[in-house]
């Protein structure tokens, strides 16, 4: 096996290059513009999955045309022509969309039967930055699962514009759809596994980007958001007894589905010692630019007072509570309600006094879908305090409250 790979690597003209070249013809550019001749408002890549005129792309590529169908339209760029296209199926959770155009194709891509082995060569095809069609080469690094989100992790230099293009193996078969690149990384990129795309292809197709009728799209989105937050909530609440010990406090930690970062540092002039545990779900459901749902983050900060007086310490805690920036975007134009915030003092069942500051807003098009964010502070004498902040984006009120209750009720002061 190892020897065979070596032979491949040493081969001066690998067969795969030709296979990649054969897929190139199935990849097109897609543009979103006010009409066929106007310049693009957004662009992406797509590829033929059905010769009857069905192409696959990312949901976030076509989101403009879905949210504002009166203003923006979708076009497939075929040489010099712009062919009007229509979105017929979406899977917002996995960032996939199917687009239909009024023309037939001679051929479509082939799907792989499984996934490559870790380290195998793979290729991503697309139109980076609206330039020439490009092929990037890289390696398959396995699957990544975070709650409801499943992605292929790969080391390929992806660029904006290649979103929606195919990721193929050495045999020229599609293994996934290019989706994103970790911003602060060295070509750490992600693709959506092909089985999710094939599942979407089996679903019923209805035109979703009709300029005069929003309801089908809104209803589809609502249902998908509902499903994804339900899945996340179930897996969080399933672990309602998993605890994290942090600086003399015991708190709830949804261990299985989140990734956490731990750090320990001293405050200004060594007056305090802060232990931070930051957890987040690495994945989200894109709704529109800069607006995501179906994700959450949690941050615990255990603060130990070293030299501050009681009043200074409390003052600092109150400042922290007021200063923390909220992640929820307030009043995204015509899309969310305004942010409503309140502060409340309470005592949890573990007899810990808490000051909670929370904010809520809701998505206008999707009933029962809210962004809930909270920050709280608990203090034990003048020595120890716990700051907790978290945000839940696109959750139902029932699930948001249930998770918040779990987090708040779990805060315990460890008696030493």
């Amino acid at each position: 096996m190892l020897a065979a790979t070596k032979v491949y690597a040493a081969d001066p003209a690998p067969i795969s290059t030709k296979l990649v070249a054969s897929v190139l013809g199935d990849v097109f550019q897609i543009k979103i513009a006010t009409d066929a001749n106007s310049p693009k408002a957004a662009y992406g890549s797509c590829f033929v999955v059905d010769t009857a005129g069905i192409l696959a792309t990312n949901f976030h590529v076509v989101a403009y045309a879905l949210h504002d169908p009166k203003k923006y339209h979708l076009y497939l760029i075929d040489g010099d022509k712009s062919i009007p296209a229509e979105v017929v199926a979406i899977d917002a959770v996995n960032d996939l969309a199917l687009v239909q155009v009024d023309r037939t194709f001679n051929r479509s891509v082939k799907f792989a039967h499984g996934l490559p082995d870790s380290g195998d060569k793979i290729y991503s095809i697309g139109w980076p930055e609206d330039l020439n069609k490009a092929v990037s080469e890289g390696n398959f690094n396995g699957l990544m699962q975070a709650g409801p989100y499943r992605k292929i992790q790969m080391s390929i230099p992806l660029n904006p514009g290649m979103s929606g293009g195919p990721t193929i193996n050495e045999a020229g078969e599609v293994i996934g759809v290019n989706v994103s690149l970790r911003a602060d990384s060295q070509s750490l990129a992600f693709a959506i596994p092909h089985d999710l795309l094939r599942a979407l292809m089996r679903e019923k197709r209805t035109p979703l980007s009709k300029p005069d009728d929003h309801e089908d799209f809104d209803e589809t989105m609502r249902a998908q958001l509902e499903r994804v937050q339900e899945e996340i909530s179930t897996s969080i609440l399933k672990e309602s007894d998993s605890n994290l010990q942090i600086g003399g406090w015991s708190v709830f930690k949804p261990a299985k589905i989140v990734k956490c970062w731990h750090s320990q540092e001293s405050g200004a002039r060594d007056q305090t010692q802060v232990i931070t545990e930051q957890c987040y779900l690495s994945g989200s459901t894109p709704i529109k630019r800069d607006l995501d749902a179906g994700t959450f983050r949690l941050r615990y900060q255990a603060i130990e007072n070293r030299t501050l007086s009681a009043w200074q310490f409390v003052h600092q805690l109150n400042e922290e509570l007021e200063d923390q920036p909220f992640a929820i975007a307030d009043k995204v134009e015509r899309f969310t309600t305004s942010l409503r915030c309140r502060q409340l003092d309470l005592v949890n069942p573990k007899n810990v006094g808490l000051r909670v500051h929370y904010c809520v807003n809701g998505f206008l098009p999707y009933a029962e879908s809210y962004n809930i964010e909270f920050e709280l502070v608990a203090a034990s004498g003048r020595q120890r305090a716990l700051l907790v902040s978290g945000s839940f984006l696109g959750f139902s009120s029932h699930n948001g409250l249930a998770i918040l209750r779990t987090i708040i009720n779990s805060i315990t002061l460890d008696q030493k």
Binding site: V314, T337, L344, N348, G362, L364, S380, G381, G400, L404
Partner: protein
């Protein structure tokens, strides 16, 4: 009743004495104050006995002199003239007054107006309001400037005002405090009574006290209050417990004991009270003294916020729809 006429350098001051014993001296705590360096802080005392009035020397430096001789005790006749250091003081008993019907002898400034209680209550309320507004404002200035929550500020001011005015009222009614002569003891008494009131309130309305505890220096004042109670009690009790000759030290004894007691309160009792009281001092929510809300109340509050969000959503959707049409 006795009339006391103090012959000072440039004028004669007349006092009407009805409550006995009455101390004459340079200190401002004396019933009759004689501001002259030759007069001791507590120079002499008038007692009422079964057969008239007696003036007693209170171990003063310069003593009391009658008819050129130094005396320890004088039985006050109808009209006596006694020398206190360099000051001459005349004593006129009731018999003299009745006989002479000398209305000019009666001082005017001590006649109480018939509506004195109303005036005192109003003044007490006014001063308490001033303090109630000033303290939280100062606190906001020191810690949370600029004050973002004026509602909270006003709430605290009203709470403090209620507390202070209630105690000021109690003092002015029950102790017959003359607000014109608001001395050190009475200020201490006000502070300690206000904290007694606070303790009482804390049993019935914990969240109210929780808010009061957010005030800067509340703990400091509270301890001064404790110290004041001890000081006043000791100061008064020593008169009955100690021999007369040692009374001159009672101020020091009371002060020392109250300072030591405050230290004990701070170092022993406060530490023993532990987490609870310290949390209250910190202005943090505390389980037993703090608000009695639980996580269900939070869920209810968020539920209300969500309902408000829903209403806004419906309103906005309607507006969008009508705007589109």
């Amino acid at each position: 009743m006795i009339l006391v006429k103090v012959h000072e350098a440039d004028h004669i001051e007349t006092h009407k004495v009805e409550i006995f014993p009455c101390v004459i001296g340079r200190s401002m705590h004396c019933g009759i104050r004689v501001d002259d360096p030759s007069v001791s802080a507590r120079h002499a005392e008038i007692h009422q006995s079964t057969d008239g009035y007696v003036l007693k020397d209170l171990f003063s430096t310069n003593g009391i002199w009658q008819a050129g001789g130094k005396v320890k005790e004088v039985r006050l006749g109808a009209r006596e003239s006694i020398i206190f250091g360099d000051v001459q003081i005349e004593f006129l008993t009731e018999d003299t007054l009745e006989r002479t019907h000398d209305s000019k002898l009666l001082p005017h400034e001590h006649t109480e107006a018939p509506h004195w209680l109303t005036v005192k209550i109003a003044a007490a309320l006014f001063f308490a309001l001033l303090i109630g507004l000033a303290v939280p404002a100062l606190e906001q200035y020191l810690w949370y400037w600029p004050p973002e929550k004026f509602g909270e500020l006003a709430g605290r001011a009203i709470l403090l005002w209620l507390q202070l005015s209630a105690t000021a009222l109690a003092i002015s009614i029950f102790c017959k405090v003359n607000l014109k002569r608001f001395n050190f003891h009475k200020v201490l008494l006000l502070i300690c009574l206000s904290f007694v009131a606070e303790r009482l309130v804390s049993n019935f309305m914990p969240s109210l006290v929780f808010n009061l505890h957010n005030l800067t220096g509340a703990k400091f004042l509270k301890h001064i209050g404790y110290g004041a109670v001890i000081y006043i009690l000791l100061f008064r009790l020593q008169r009955y417990a100690l021999p007369k000759g040692q009374l001159r030290y009672r101020r020091w004894v009371a002060g020392g004991v109250s300072v030591i007691s405050m230290l004990i309160i701070e170092l022993v009792i406060e530490r023993q009270l532990g987490e609870r009281s310290r949390m209250a001092d910190l202005g943090m929510p505390i389980p037993t003294l703090g608000p009695s809300q639980g996580s269900d109340d939070l869920m209810f509050a968020i539920g209300l916020t969500i309902a408000a969000t829903d209403q806004e959503r419906i309103r906005q959707l309607e507006r969008l729809e009508s705007g589109d049409d």
